[in-house]
Amino acid sequence: MLNFSLKQLSTLLTTKRISSTELTGEFLKRSRALNADYNAFITIDEETSLAQARAADAMIASGQAGPLTGIPVAQKDIFCTKGWLTTCGSKMLSNFVSPYDAHVVERFNAIGAVNIGKTNMDEFAMGSSNETSFYGPVKNPWDITAVPGGSSGGSACAVAARMAPAATGTDTGGSIRQPAALCGISGLKPTYGLVSRYGMVAFASSLDQGGPMAKSAEDLALMLNVMAGFDARDSTSLMREPEDYARDLERPLEGLRIGLPREYFVKEINDDVARAVENAIAEYHKLGAETVEVSLPNTKLSVPVYYVLAPAEASSNLSRFDGVRYGYRAPEYADLNDMYCKSRAQGFGAEVKRRILIGTYVLSHGYYDAYYVQAQKLRRLVAQDFAEAFKQCDVIMGPTSPTVAFDLGERISDPVQMYLSDAYTIAVNLAGLPGMSIPAGFGNKGRPVGLHIVGNYFAEAKMLNVAHQYQKTTDWHMSMPNS
């Protein structure tokens, strides 16, 4: 049952072969047991989860079940969840119980999904290894000496270790796709604006996007059906007709044009990763797809552009954490200014402080034009590259990350090295495009490799189709770490 798809679990539930209470109980038991080793969850609250499960059972009994009713879903601890501790992986919010639900949480609640717990993450989603969490690093279930990736490392680990059938994540520069790749699961970052950011603690507003993490593309489609939709409380939310993201899953890939950016297959990429991606492309050829070489010449600018814009927005977004109204306040201080300084010095970790400093610097008088304005211009160039490429192809493929999961502690003291590992994913956020990662085999030390699929705006259904067809002929996504 651990490896069942959401559809299979739903069938079990609606045919009354198992109740949501039982299903939730099973996953809770497993989560409790494994969490000591993996640290995937910050909060597990059996009572609340089981109460939701009982409500779901009532919904099912009354014939009101939808595709995800009664199914346990883990929520990244960045989504405000009423009555739950919502920490964002930070000491700053270590005492914050949200008085309201994020839009995404509301939607899961409305269809009777069960919140199975709040997953660990890099502090305020700033990190690619989950090592910046105030609650300690998450371990990669394939190898507990390796990082799970970040920032949605807790969600990735929870799904990979089958502690939850599916989870939510957020992706600002790769935070869904990179941990999905490193943990051997599937993850999708939708087009910017598709999933409401209301109630999602902001890191970099113009880049942040929530999305699903699950075992397979089919599961992602069902999750996205719940998560996507217009929300008037988010001014960047897109008003669009609702769509069924599972509608095209079974389409054959005959004639699909896959763009391979020549800039992606260069020296930075490790051989083991390159081999896995090449094998995946070969599989696509068998499925009837053709490949075209495309160019994304400004991709190399993505990392520097990102590390101007994201910290700039973050430095302002995180100003609200001042110890005045909620969250951490230093126990002793001399005056107002001292209270701010001490609360923030003690409440934020090193990586968050580093980014607040960078962001404050690039927005400062005299530097704004040279950094922020310039970065915005380059951001447009990055987006134009994709627009050009999509004239020649339907999807773009490459590695999600240039390497498999690195060791815990390996890069944490070298931020630049850490930042560079997100080169492939960051460009997608800068352009606002949808991107996903699916398992494509294993590399060095038996650690998973992710295949990165980038689509044009609103091409989620197409991307899920492309991923699903691959998953029908391969079983990488069904591989499960020993536990």
Partner: protein, 493 residues
């Protein structure tokens, strides 16, 4: 040396929307602390701003009323600084591209007309309030005001005296109320001014170093603060000193301005476009709709009153200082177009005296323009004297005040003849029947032989005494002009 004072004003007007500029919380004044602060106003983690359409509409109306350019797109920007009553750690304002750019406001100081140019008007949110009393050494934070929509109206340094500055501020105050975008309530902080003041030698082209006086919430304080600040700067310069660019606060108790912070410790607000709000694009059709919804503007009306009724610019300025007065005047003069000046005199004289006594506005006046017009008509046609009219007015007022409904909210026309009813029932009609007057005068002449003789001896004063006797005998109801004429005829015969 002769000094010239140079003043520019930044006026913060609170827009009269029901809800806040970026949240659905109420803007009503006077609720219990923090009762009107929702999740967005509290800046809880994860909340996002959504722009209030009504605030934009009001900004457009202002832009059109001052002949400014309505920018599309305009951009919301974050102004970053830490303060406990600023929950997000930044204020959402507009920086590089404000919604309204340019425009002018015409002011009248005495008989002089002057045009004040505007730089811009931009939308922003207000902060909350820090309460330093009653918390035993701690500070209380009330976020009810946080997120209240403001339109900040920035003028060029076009004013040259505190009087001009006050006149301009009053003009803007009147205008924003006139077009219905702000209630103008200064006690509640709906209308506040910052004054940029500098001085320079007369004839000099270069602007002096300015000081900004913050948060002036009455016209009197505005005037006194500018006067004090100009004196202070002139004294420094005459003593050979230099002015430091500063932000200053006016202390009304001591009638002086005090330094708050100098340019050196000016904060770097690190403005940047708010990524939570998209550029604001305003369709031409929206502007057109706002335009068609605008009432006749005060300056247009002022010119019309001058042209149509030949009133002085003093009168027209006073009558258009407030939309309620203007509306009242328009309705009154419509009923008595033959004497616009008489209408003006009463609407600027007798009526406000009564309204002020009861702290009523023109809109809540118990007497309608139709009722007033009838009274004035009776003066005009000689039925009663101006003096009797005041007596009638007093009675009309107390009668109308009993019903306690404002004329604007009344649809009954039953009391349109109130003036006539009072004149009739109390026999206050002027005696203009010449036969009746002649016999009254004959009686007075017969009874005051001494005065008659004095008059004939050349004492003009005696004539007035005789007329006075006639008026007394007529209990004030005689037409003085008619009495004069008959008396003179009889005495000189």
């Amino acid at each position: 040396m002769q000094w010239e004072i140079v003043i520019g004003l930044e006026v913060h007007t609170q827009l009269s929307t029901q809800s806040k500029i970026f949240s659905g919380a109420s803007t009503a004044f006077g609720a219990a602390p923090n009762a009107e602060a929702c999740a967005v106003d509290l800046a809880l983690p994860g909340v996002l701003p959504v722009l209030n359409r009504g605030a934009v509409d009001r900004a457009i109306r202002f832009g059109l009323a001052v002949g400014a350019k309505v920018n599309s797109p305009s951009i919301f920007a974050r102004k970053n600084y830490f303060y406990p009553d600023l929950p997000k750690g930044y204020q959402i304002s507009q920086y590089e591209l404000p919604v309204v750019e340019g425009g002018t406001v015409t002011i009248h100081v005495g008989e002089m007309e002057k045009t004040i140019r505007l730089v811009r008007a931009h939308l922003e949110e207000d902060a909350g309030k820090s309460l330093h009393e009653d918390f035993h050494g701690m500070t209380g934070i009330d976020l009810n005001r946080a997120g209240t929509p403001l339109l900040e109206i920035v003028s060029e340094p076009d004013m040259r005296s505190s009087q001009e500055a006050v006149t301009y501020a009053k003009m803007v105050h009147s205008l924003v109320r006139w077009i219905g975008i702000c209630d103008g309530n200064m006690q509640e902080g709906s209308f506040r001014c910052d004054a940029n003041v500098s001085v320079r030698p007369h004839g000099s082209e270069r602007l002096g170093t300015r000081c900004e006086i913050k948060n002036l919430n009455s016209f009197r304080f505005l005037e006194k603060a500018i006067d004090y600040e100009a004196r202070r700067q002139i004294e420094i310069l005459e003593d050979g000193g230099t002015i430091q660019q500063q932000t200053r606060l006016y202390d009304p108790d001591k009638d002086e301005t005090r330094a708050m912070r100098s340019k050196e410790d000016a904060q770097d607000y690190r403005y940047f476009p708010d990524p939570d709000l998209l550029p604001l694009e305003i369709a031409e059709s929206w502007i057109a709709k706002a335009k068609s919804g605008l009432p006749e503007l005060p300056e247009q009306m002022r010119v019309r009153l001058e042209r149509e009724y030949g009133l002085s610019s003093y009168d027209t300025s006073a009558l258009t200082a407030d939309r309620e007065i203007a509306e009242y005047y328009d309705a009154t003069v419509a009923k008595l177009p033959s004497d616009p000046k008489l209408c003006a005199n009463w609407i600027m004289g007798e009526l406000p005296a009564y309204l002020n006594d009861e702290a009523k506005s023109f809109d809540s006046c118990p007497l309608s323009p139709v009722q007033l017009a009838q009274l004035l008509m009776r003066i005009k046609d000689g039925t009663i004297s101006g003096k009797i009219a005041k007596e009638v007015f007093k009675q009309m007022w107390s009668k109308a005040a009993q019903t306690a409904t404002a004329w604007k909210n009344r649809d009954s026309k039953l009391d349109d003849n109130l003036a006539d009813q009072i004149i009739e029932s109390q026999g206050l009609k002027q005696i203009s029947d010449s036969g009746e007057l002649e016999s009254l005068i004959d009686g007075v002449i017969a009874a005051n032989v001494k005065s008659v003789e004095e008059f004939k001896a050349g004492k003009e004063k005696a004539f007035n005494a005789l007329v006075g006797q006639v008026m007394k005998a007529a209990r004030g109801k005689a037409n003085p002009a008619q009495v004069n004429e008959i008396m003179r005829r009889k005495l000189e015969a």
